[in-house]
């Protein structure tokens, strides 16, 4: 598997660390309440098809969102968080 680091270009999977769905980018307000925080922390879909998830390119320190398809394994693209 290969992913494209927005900074470094296409790289082998071994250079990346997986985190989870991009939901982690949408941090609720501290007082948003239990349900919002549970959804943020724990509740995830298990999509058969397109998904967007977070990866860390360890060598350069860039966090990225990867758009990929869980059925075809196609990686559509990636972009840096910032």
């Amino acid at each position: 598997m290969r992913l494209t680091c927005p900074c470094c270009g296409p790289r082998d999977r071994r250079e990346f660390t997986y985190y989870g769905h991009e939901t982690f980018l949408h941090r609720p307000a501290p007082d948003a309440g239990g349900q919002a925080w549970d959804d943020y922390l724990h509740n995830r879909d298990n999509p058969a098809g397109p998904t967007r998830d977070l990866w860390y390119h360890d060598p350069c320190g860039t966090w990225l969102v990867v758009a990929r398809d869980t059925v075809t394994h196609a990686v559509e693209g990636s972009e840096a968080l910032a």
Partner: protein, 189 residues
Amino acid sequence: MADLTVTEATDGLGLPLAMGDCILSAQAPGTAWLIAPYPGRRAACSAALAPLGLSFPAPGQGLAGQGLAAGGRRIVWAGRDQAFLFGAAPPEGLAEHAALTDQSDGWAGLRLQGPDAEAVLARLVPLDLRIGAFPEDHVARSLLGHMPLLIQRTGPETFALMTYRSMAGSAVQEIGHALKAVAARRRLG
């Protein structure tokens, strides 16, 4: 006056190591400052670096100082919003635009040279190092086996490698294994 003796990262590791048509030698990074521009300050950093004949490098780029004043100074991209300045202290005014950290002692520097250097590195580095894809002066952060790596092609058959100081022994050992295997193939003709 420093009253403490200096131990280099690669001391006692049996370098240089020559095998086949390659040679692995120590190449201490010397003075190395990590420069990390604050958001939106890359141009300001380049301006501050101008007196050294340098500018802040783009990802994957290594720049040698221009002109006589350069005196062997180099700046090398080193990660997201980071570059290593080698051979000089950060110029006046740079600290306003970037975080500066002295890293001179944190890294072990190695130099691998020879016609089979690419073949040796292909055993350890998951990067496309063909000269077309990774030409002279190009830089990458990657892995050397399981070790962090900053790699720069410094010549058609020469690479500068940097890994964590504490891992210098393992790095030399791993490259040594690869050198040995590649040399054995070379002997087959």
